[in-house]
Point group: C2
Chain length 196, copies 2
């Protein structure tokens, strides 16, 4: 699949450092969220279903953030006004994140880019990609908390398809597993190597 | 609700330190997982449904751990054999955790005890409650990863009731929100105050 030109999106590029996670560790992490080859298949199916709905999904998620000052805060300099350009640039990559989440099976490039996303949430690299002057860190508690809205709200969009309830359910669970897996990876920079 | 005598279970006792989380921060965290008063009600309903099934639920979860060496590892001294007494003692508290998860609304005591659970996962306090010689830390990646199995597997047990599909769905979502909320709290000792 060719990758579109999205500012700051560097999946597969040489500028992305290797994630400090071996593939066998990644496999264990997949097992801990019960991720199987079937989930690979259902995520690809989900990718087709979600593809035409990306804007509606992002509208919903961005609406959720906008409705909560303490979440919108991460797009501000800490004193009120959100940075609209920053919001827009992240939005484009967030849409691509939906596609990448569904673009299975996950390989070394995928894992490396997940780790890049981890760094961009954490103070290690936040704001650098978009060269913005915003608060320095997305707090871990909300990175984890976001598992719920990002998972629960996807179901309605998966139902907008000709697929059976059983298939929708399998797509939903594959998505839930992947989101949990990714947040687990994203937590890495927030802790020490020993504790992760 | 009177609390049963479970070794190491100290909910509500003076020995439990205050969580370093204010109630208004806790409220924001609840908002981030879309937790509402309706979830309080559905968790109490779930509590009634799950109450007679605790052993079957724990059999399933313990079976999942036992099937994965890298998870069972946390009940070992790092060199193979799991500590059966440790497993049993944690199991009793895990059963009570199911009840406490459903015992809404969550107050200051609940939050303080969640934080105690956080410390007991992390090297800050792991092994101390049961005075065992096991590996010093439950790695954060699996604490987060566990959100999936602990959530997905509960649904079958919720269906073992006279409730409608719509009610089962609401109990399931309330459970999912609570588990995510709790893991978010449990992540605290793994990071710095500034990053959490």
């Amino acid at each position: 699949m060719s990758k579109p030109e999205i500012p700051g999106y560097t999946f597969g590029e040489r500028s992305v450092p290797d994630a400090p996670i071996e593939m066998d560790e990644f496999e264990r992490l997949k097992q801990s969220v019960m991720f199987s080859d079937e989930d690979d298949r259902y995520l690809r199916m989900a990718g087709e279903v979600l593809d035409g709905q990306t804007d509606e999904i992002l509208d919903l998620w961005y609406g959720f953030v906008a409705d909560h000052d303490f979440l919108l805060y991460y797009f501000t300099d800490g004193h009120g006004t959100p940075n609209e350009e920053y919001l827009e640039r992240v939005r484009d990559r967030f849409g691509q994140w939906i596609r990448d989440t569904c673009d299975t099976p996950y390989g070394r490039d995928w894992l490396d880019y997940q780790f890049e996303i981890a760094r961009r949430h954490h103070r290690t690299e936040k704001n650098q990609t978009d060269e913005v002057d915003a608060v320095p860190n997305i707090d871990l508690r909300y990175v984890i908390g976001f598992i719920y809205p990002i998972t629960a709200t996807i179901r309605t969009f998966l139902e907008n398809s000709g697929y059976s309830d059983a298939d929708v359910d399998k797509m939903y669970h594959a998505w839930f597993k992947s989101v949990t897996l990714q947040v687990s990876i994203w937590s890495y920079p927030y802790t020490t190597d020993d504790d992760w």
